[in-house]
Assembly symmetry: C2
């Protein structure tokens, strides 16, 4: 028996060794990506794209090595496979998933898609600058066709009902359009109700505070205070992170090297303020996955949606709470000085929580954000179910924006072409953003119950109990569970949008007096 156990252990170790090589190549790519966005001299772009594609190909080869298939088979057929621990079984399951997906897609399709992505992004940029959808539509069509071809293959591998479900599964494991529709429909109704109440309210919020000029140097000091609050370390001799500046803020990194970026606008200091909190939330997740899972499939996040729940938890549910605002305002006054003198807590709190339906997703407030996502999700389904032609997309987009948000789209650059996702072939990605909010509603409800004197803790500037809760309940689980299972485990409840809608209703009724 010992011999057989050694044998299965050794098969398992061989699989993990392959995974380790692949994930290390991936983390090397992440650094090259980060460098490209933050430090690379502009002329370096051609060499950089070559480096990234060589590394991707190298990783692909490591994963699709036929030996991996034989190893997985041997384990599957091994009489002693039941001696593997749950964690080992999960690692093998996750590895097999990646192996299957990578081996089933023909190399020609993968490389054609990569090429078309570069072309489509390029055309999208030009079309967006020219506000002319006609420039973009043919390349959008091509990338959709390629993604559909891949989705049809992946549908079989993953056993999903539709090709679109196979795409969704890449970002949110085991999530289907059917499930998402069920909760998004409830959310849509709920959000529109809140928006209507806000529209009907007499309350008008003064947002001039948000336009106060705050010099970049002061904003940098504010970033430092926020990172100190989160315990995200960029300064010490054992720092595990960095903060840099990029056009669009992002987080990248693995375990002990997790980097965030922000963008400073002198006349919109809350942009960087909330970016640092948002990216800080992502960073804490990456940094707090248990060290023992490093280089294993378990050493990653549960899903894109769960990741987004961690950033939005810090940005919105904590960062836009009256308690946090009350804690941070005196700090801001100290740093900003005169321009912030006399600013009242209530006014500042209201300003950072103003609700105002808009055309641009990335500028949306906490309440209307979900509708931006629902519109994209509905259109993605129409595309992949063949219910909408490329020609019709702008019209459908504009109509939905008018119906759900009451805004009039003036041109396709602020409409169908506003995001880069589709040009990049990232279909099925958008729902994760709103799922993050929904997960947050559930986590928040549980967290408030678990942490004694929750509001007082936030108000006092003590983030440790919250950080610990997030670590214990979410970060420390790595990729042990698919998102729905993780939520059930943490909250005891099945996926529901109710807590999130209740949170919004409770919060905004107090702000807008409804």
């Amino acid at each position: 028996m010992l011999g057989l156990n050694n044998e299965i252990q050794s098969l398992y170790d061989s699989i993990l060794t392959k995974y380790k090589e692949a994930i290390i190549l991936q983390t090397a790519s992440s650094i090259l990506h980060w460098d490209m966005e933050t430090k690379m001299p502009p002329r370096g772009i051609e060499l950089r794209s070559q480096q990234l594609s060589v590394l991707e190909l190298a990783g692909h080869k490591v994963i699709t090595n036929p030996q991996n298939g034989r190893l997985l088979d041997s384990i599957e057929k091994h009489p002693n496979k039941y001696f593997l621990s749950n964690q080992q079984v999960r690692n093998l399951y996750l590895f097999k998933k990646v192996y299957d997906e990578n081996t089933k897609l023909p190399d020609s399709l993968v490389s054609e898609t990569a090429k078309q992505q570069t072309i489509s992004i390029n055309t999208w940029k030009k079309a967006k600058a020219a506000k002319d959808y006609n420039i973009f539509k043919e390349d959008l069509k091509k990338i959709i066709e390629l993604k559909l071809e891949a989705a049809e293959i992946l549908m079989d591998v993953k056993g999903t009902k539709t090709p679109y479900d196979a795409l969704l599964d890449s970002y949110e494991s085991k999530m289907s359009a059917e499930k998402i529709n069920r909760i998004f429909n409830i959310m849509k109704k709920g959000l529109i109700e809140v928006i209507n109440k806000i529209n009907d309210s007499e309350k008008k919020i003064n947002t001039e505070i948000l336009e106060i000029k705050v010099p970049v140097n002061d904003q940098k000091k504010i970033s430092q205070i926020l990172m100190d609050y989160l315990g995200y370390d960029i300064l010490s001799g054992v720092a595990g992170g960095r903060l840099d500046e990029t056009e669009h803020p992002f987080t990248t990194g693995y375990y002990d090297d997790v980097r965030i970026t922000t963008h400073y606008y002198e006349d919109k200091f809350t942009s960087s303020f909330y970016s640092v909190l948002h990216e800080g939330g992502h960073a804490l997740y990456n940094q707090n996955i248990p060290k023992e899972y490093m280089y294993q499939p378990l050493g990653e996040a549960s899903s894109y949606g769960i990741h987004e729940s961690q950033s939005r938890m810090i940005e919105n549910l904590i960062g836009r709470s009256p308690e946090f605002v009350s804690y941070i305002l005196p700090n801001l006054k100290k740093i900003i000085g005169k321009p912030f003198k006399g600013i009242k807590l209530r006014d500042f709190y209201e300003a950072v929580n103003v609700v105002s339906p808009s055309k641009i997703r990335v500028e949306a407030d906490e309440v209307t954000y979900g509708l931006h996502i629902i519109i994209r999700f509905e259109i993605e389904q129409m595309i992949f179910n063949g219910e909408a032609s490329i020609e019709e997309l702008p019209q459908i987009w504009n109509q939905k924006y008018f119906d759900y948000l009451g805004v009039q789209i003036e041109n396709d650059s602020e409409g169908i072409m506003q995001d880069t996702h589709w040009a990049s072939g990232l279909f099925g990605y958008f729902p994760s953003y709103a799922l993050g909010n929904i997960y947050d509603g559930m986590f928040y409800k549980k967290m408030k119950r678990d942490i004694p004197k929750f509001k007082k803790v936030i108000k006092s500037g003590n983030f440790i109990p919250i950080k610990q809760w997030l670590k214990n309940n979410i970060h420390s689980k790595g990729n042990l569970y698919d998102p729905e299972d993780l939520i059930k485990l943490v909250t005891g409840e099945n996926l529901t949008v109710k807590p999130y809608l209740e949170y919004l209703e409770r919060k905004f009724s107090k702000i807008y007096n409804f």
Copy 2:
């Protein structure tokens, strides 16, 4: 015939495709190295070393693929191989050299050496801090034994006379200890003569100027002026470079992404001043290799020594010339202001050219530097010829420093353990530094003849004719020629130390009045 020509072209292309993949992996590693030295959060070191080792292994696999051997054989035996151009033949020769070296060394030896390097560097750091050679000597012995084992294998591959020659060949192709001894012996005599004349001279140079406090911000402005002078672009929207700060200055990069670093000391501004010129010289070489050689073996420098000649040309022969100093001093006065008021050109020129035998190589002046290298070269030969035991090395080192430089080594940290090279297994590397000086003597003599009004050009701050000369004569040749052939081509002369000694004699006789 056309068919056969197509065939050999296609064999050639297959080889180049492999090389391209390998060099791209290498450039990716360079970025990761750069990031490690400049930006990486300290905790990232463990992951980083994994990334670097995975990339190195991936590159090794690409080069040692047995298919490469078969391709090279097919070309060698092909009836139409004579239709290949000289450049194609050189590319194949260089590729074969790398292939042979990589395939002949057993994987076990390569990985054992890599491990021992890490260990030896670590032990060296500890021993240096403790000023105790006993801590280091066993690990030094082990790395020497491993390098000797490799050298004995490479000796056969490369057809060199001795194992040590095989090591030298890795940095300076076709250079042998015999050749180097011949010119180093002449150089040693010449340098000691100059030093003796300086020692006998009445002239005392005041170096207080070098200790004037220059704030880092002013030093940054000085760096910018120097980079503008060289045309090394770090600012524009099409910049191909960067300047960052590290403990030890270095240059890294390929073609359109070439990065230099410096270190600012407030009370020693010439340290950064000459580092920027030195690294700038390296950077210009990397940036000016013809684009058509990119991703080919030809797209690299001729040798370490030729590379060093480019950095020292800018740092010393140009940067420490009376003409350049005369051009730059008014700029320094403008930036530094009051502390530099009244500084006389002659005094500044003398201060940056002071000669003073010292114990530390990296602090050595233009005249004594060569002796530091000769000492190391002589000891390396003794080690690899079995003429010196590990135990004796400190004593031998100290004796040579006393004999050649007249300095008394107080402890082994400023003696045998001052450099990291040997701990890293870099035996055969040191001679390249001094060869760079010798090459410079020859290049300088030719350049002065070729460029009309050479001194006036420098004095006017116009670097373009010099840059163009270096580009036409050296940079544009990529790795078309081994160093000795390149020198012959450029200067019409065989390798000789005479011009370098004449340059020193002429320059320092004027400074020290002998």
